[in-house]
């Protein structure tokens, strides 16, 4: 029975998305409550799957009861079920925020469509993490990209359309180059199932080295465009500045991470470490990551609009994660996975609190933030906790991930990378600290209005508090999460 759970989760999301148009007659928050129940069910079942997978090993699920090489296969192991749990938890927090949130630009009557897209998006992310088939990943990537574009353009404003259009164009180039990589791999090996491709690549890569190098570089470029790795990140800041803040939270905290996880799956499950080192692919990734870490932060400093700054800082943090992965060592992966978690939490916190601040204060410019700490204690408090986390102040999860990344890099004695990490952390300080300082220390401008504390609605307050607690909690006791990540790494490298 446990084998059927992964596909039932997907169908649960699909059923919820299909049932929203049918529930239109009833009041809207019955749909919201039903959606929340669906999310809880999926969370419980993914915890259940995670426990089962840890004890009995990966679930292999062949669609249509065919042999592995004939049909499509779901391979649910510690790696995929760990990250699906993370995605569902984050999505629940954003879901609570967005259901309690009237601040968004989306009109009330658009909500039905927003949640249809939300649940189809969740379904495709679960599908991407579960499938063990290259072409099936492409189909799910397409569902993910069309729903993320639709989420951005649902806010009917002038600049959302242009940024959504640019996002569609770049996304389409990304998925077509990923498909080109799959075509080259199919040409060399004849399989699309990841484990079979892995076995045949380990024999065949001497005979078709150029073909496989170009295939993996097309995949890196394709997924790099979608994951906003540095040279291809052009779409991210515009998409973030115009999209509703719940969508940009989903986009930068979860969707970007899913594309990075697809890249790790392709690198480790399809190519394997020794073939990668033989074709010296990690060097490309390291170069991309380190440029991204520096340039992302440099651009972020120059920004005046809060959301664009957060977008550029996402580009820099993606560089951290890719750097961790490109080290191809156990510690590198551990640092990268932990940073995926901590950055997901912190970026969601930043976007949701920025959304609340922008709505109440009608200001998007960074230098209008002075004295905000007293006007909106919760939102600004969370913004500064997450900002301190991004800088890497001890007691926050950001510090732990930077520490691990530094240790992983030290293990390889590559001093340049260590210098790059330090420089980019300093750059982070330059653009996060001024906001926090001006929000709490400079308050003479708003002195006379100290007593009018904006009451953010309860529905938006709870997720912000949960996020703050999680960031601090992850920073203070990282051990339980760390050995969960150990399972994920061992299952990835098996």
């Amino acid at each position: 029975m446990i084998n059927q759970l992964p596909i039932l989760q997907l169908l649960l999301f699909l059923g919820m998305a299909l049932s929203i148009p049918l529930l239109r007659k009833r009041r809207f928050n019955t749909t919201l409550r039903l959606g929340f129940i669906v999310l809880c069910l999926v969370l419980i079942s993914s915890i259940f799957i995670y426990i089962h997978v840890i004890s009995e090993g990966p679930i292999l699920y062949y669609f249509g009861n065919h042999a592995q090489r004939l049909g499509i296969e779901f391979k649910v192991d510690a790696f995929s079920s760990f990250f699906t749990m993370f995605i569902v938890i984050l999505a629940m927090i954003i879901y609570i925020y967005s259901s309690g949130d009237q601040t968004e630009g989306i009109e009330e009557k658009e909500y039905g469509r927003y949640y249809i897209l939300f649940f189809i998006l969740m379904m495709s992310m679960f599908g991407i993490l579960y499938t063990n088939d290259l072409f099936n990943t492409y189909v799910f990537i397409e569902i993910l990209s069309i729903t993320t574009c639709a989420i951005i353009s649902i806010k009917r404003k002038k600049d959302t359309y242009t940024s959504a259009f640019r996002y569609v164009m770049l996304n389409e180039i990304g998925s077509l180059s990923y498909l080109f990589g799959v075509a080259l791999i199919y040409m060399a090996t004849g399989y699309t199932n990841m484990t079979l491709v892995y076995e045949s690549i380990s024999q065949v890569w001497q005979t078709f080295p150029v073909n496989l190098i170009i295939a993996i570089s097309f995949m890196i470029v394709g997924l790099g465009i979608k994951a906003a790795v540095f040279p291809f990140h052009i779409w991210l800041p515009d998409a973030h500045s115009s999209a509703p803040s719940t969508s940009s939270a989903i986009l930068s905290a979860i969707v970007v991470k899913v594309y990075i996880l697809v890249l790790t799956k392709v690198l480790f499950r399809v190519y394997g470490i020794d073939v990668l080192e033989a074709l010296n692919i990690p060097v490309i990734l390291m170069v991309l990551a380190s440029i991204g870490m520096i340039m992302g932060s440099v651009f972020a400093i120059a920004q005046k609009d809060v959301k664009r700054m957060l977008g550029y800082s996402s580009v820099a943090q993606v560089g951290y994660i890719i750097l961790g992965i490109s080290l191809l060592t156990h510690d590198g992966l551990r640092a990268a996975f932990f940073h995926i978690l901590s950055h997901g939490l912190m970026k969601t916190a930043l976007f949701l609190s920025a959304g609340a601040i922008i709505f109440y204060k009608k200001t998007r410019r960074i230098n209008d933030f002075d004295g905000l700490g007293y006007i909106m204690p919760v939102a600004m408090g969370l913004f500064s906790i997450a900002g301190l986390g991004m800088i890497g102040i001890p007691l926050t999860s950001g510090f732990i991930s930077k520490l691990n990344l530094g240790l992983a890099v030290l293990e390889l004695e590559s001093w340049i990378l260590l210098a790059i990490i330090i420089v980019s952390s300093l750059l982070n300080v330059i653009y996060y600290l001024p906001i926090i300082i001006s929000a709490f220390l400079k308050n003479e401008k708003y002195h006379y209005r100290l007593e009018t504390i904006e009451k953010t609605p309860k529905g938006m307050l709870i997720p912000l508090i949960i996020l703050g607690v999680l960031i601090i909690g992850l920073g203070v006791f990282p051990e339980p999460i760390m050995n969960l990540i150990e399972y994920a790494i061992t299952s990835l490298q098996a």
């Binding site: 084998n3 059927q4 596909i7 169908l11 059923g15 299909l18 062949y62 669609f63 249509g64 009861n65």
Partner: protein, 142 residues
């Protein structure tokens, strides 16, 4: 498009295009073609109708309620067929072991669930094409 000749021509042509589309869908698992090709054919016949007779009349022929029903209906049909296998404990979308009749090859009701899925895909592609066309066209007028 007030042209008389074009109107009578389409009125004569439409049934044959749609008949041929249905033929392609039903024979999807015997001869080349299948859900996509057949669905696209029926879809284009209705788009031709919309172009020639205008959106309001096309709305009556393929109303908004029917489009919405067909879209989610096609998807629900596909998922339901997949779930039948789950009842017997077999993985999702199993065909012959899950009790679909094999039939002898070359006949229409032969290959287990494949013709049913073909019909589901045909309905889905047809209604998606037509309602996408109506969404794009409708925006022009209003």
């Amino acid at each position: 498009m007030e042209d008389k000749i074009v109107k009578t021509m389409t009125r004569m042509l439409l049934p044959f295009i749609q008949l041929y589309g249905i033929f392609i869908i039903l024979n999807g698992h015997i001869s080349p073609g299948g859900g996509f090709a057949g669905g696209a054919m029926i879809g284009t016949s209705l788009i031709l109708y919309t172009i020639v007779f205008g959106l309001p009349k096309a709305r009556k022929k393929f109303s908004h309620r029917a489009a919405e029903f067909m879209e989610s209906g096609g998807l629900i049909l596909y998922v339901a067929i997949g779930l039948i296998a789950l009842i017997f404990g077999l993985p999702f979308l199993t065909n012959i072991e899950a009790g679909f009749s094999l039939g002898e090859p070359g006949k229409i009701f032969s290959a287990g669930m494949i013709p049913i899925i073909m019909i589901g895909i045909g309905i889905k592609v047809f209604s998606t094409m037509v309602s996408l066309f109506h969404i794009l066209i409708e925006e022009e007028i209003s």
